[in-house]
Symmetry: C2
Subunit: 247 residues, 2 copies
DNA sequence: ACATAACAAAATGTATACATCGTCGATAGC
DNA sequence: GCTATCGACGATGTATACATTTTGTTATGT
């Protein structure tokens, strides 16, 4: 599945990375607040060294920012930045889809992608009401991971995976049991139709169509974001990925 | 111009980053070879700590890779990876151009971009033979930096700048006095025409056209890459950015 | 009461010491 | 002569100690 990065993380380094991620996304530290290295080190029970490494990495990923005077702080995202990050994911996934179509995807991987779509179809269609969120999220993530690697270009795959590290830009950002509203549920049906169309376009070597579809697919997440901001701001607290959005 | 990153680098950290970059790009260590932390530390006269930080960052940038057993090595790039990185730059710059056109670029920044194009015109047209490479490189870099920030999306700007950190993906990769061949020189004329067209498209709010043009503009670099690989491999050694390409 | 300057506390940046793991080589056995 | 295992060397991963900068507070002067 997603061998994500060539990460051969050492135990402490891994603890630091996951720990800080949880701290930030769990709302333990408010956006904009300083991330004190000693405080984190004590809280996680490890030394400052892996903490610093993790912070530097998270800065590269865009989750934390460097303070002008040194040190790091939890990054705050404006609504437009979230929107742009989603658009960016669409652009990159679109490129992955286009290249896969133009260059021809490896038959086995394309078959795997089609199998995932079939399973997704089952998950969505069988019991539209009693949908298994966990299962859908898992399959959806698998679809996007497979798509990212379908072009055979490691360069593209890396960048797609990179942008997905931003929590709200992930394809599963708005898929959460805590945020189970009809509007989101409807988007799953549309999304699944787009999944099918993307695979079809790649199979037919229709690069431009595949790219446009993947972009539009990402914009489904943007629509969900707008729904949260305009229609039901109470979801802001219930969608974990949106904890960092201020404005 | 390009305040690149919110990097408030400490002296040792900066020395480490620049030093290792020079080591890798200068060919002091062969691609694939291990980058021993102690060796680098002794060579640069600083401790291992900033070295490690710089290596971790360069791994994120894609210049070095993590060895399965730990530590880092100089990354080797296949021809297709170089080609894909250039394509990726085109995709991202294309997105920057499209968004600038769709959303409307700030008048002052657009004016600045037009001024750069004017200056570039002078540099190219006045003395086609006695072209000042340094000046052209500087203006060309300014054009691409300005374009990256023209959409107003910091997210997009960041990503464009990121991919440009890969030496061979930079817009100036094939602009070098050491590699002054007629084929490259001709590409400058075509490139300058594309610069003009990109600005025009953004000004006319023609987003799709702007995106397509920016992509095609990047493919000029891809053509130069193919020229090196197919027509004149002696350039492989003369174009500094291509030192990491094996195959 | 307010502003300013000096001082103290704390945080980061850097260096070094220690622990752990991988790799290379030598030696012993077959 | 070849292979396998044991051991030493070296490298990275981690922790800690030190130095420098930043920040917050307090006291003093106007």
């Amino acid at each position: 599945m997603g061998a994500a990065h060539p990460l051969r993380q050492q135990p402490q380094a891994l603890k630091a990375l996951m720990g800080i991620r949880d701290l930030v996304l769990g709302g333990a530290v408010t956006p904009g607040a300083r991330l004190s290295e000693v405080a984190i080190a004590e809280r996680l029970g490890i030394s400052r060294t892996p903490i610093r490494a993790a912070l530097a990495r998270l800065e590269q990923e865009g989750l934390v920012e460097i303070l002008p005077s040194g040190g790091y702080a939890v990054r705050r995202f404006s609504r437009s930045e979230v929107s742009d990050a989603i658009e960016l994911r669409g652009v990159l996934e679109g490129t992955a889809a286009r290249l896969a179509a133009e260059r021809g995807a490896p038959p086995d991987r394309l078959a795997a992608l089609k199998a995932i779509v079939e399973e997704l179809d089952g998950a969505v269609a069988d019991w539209p009401e009693a949908l298994d969120f966990d299962r859908y999220v898992e399959l959806n993530a698998a679809f996007h991971d497979t798509l990212a690697g379908l072009s055979g270009s490691e360069t593209i795959r890396r960048e797609v995976e990179r942008v997905k590290n931003l929590p709200f830009a992930s394809p599963s950002a708005f898929l959460d049991k805590q945020a189970d509203v009809p509007a989101f549920r409807r988007s799953l049906v549309t999304g699944q139709a787009q999944h099918r169309a993307i695979v079809e376009a790649i199979e037919m070597r229709e690069g431009t169509r595949a790219e446009a579809l993947a972009r539009e697919h990402a914009r489904l997440a943007r629509a969900n974001l707008e729904y949260v901001m305009e229609e039901d701001r109470s979801l802001l607290a219930r969608v974990p990925a949106l904890a960092l959005v201020n404005e």
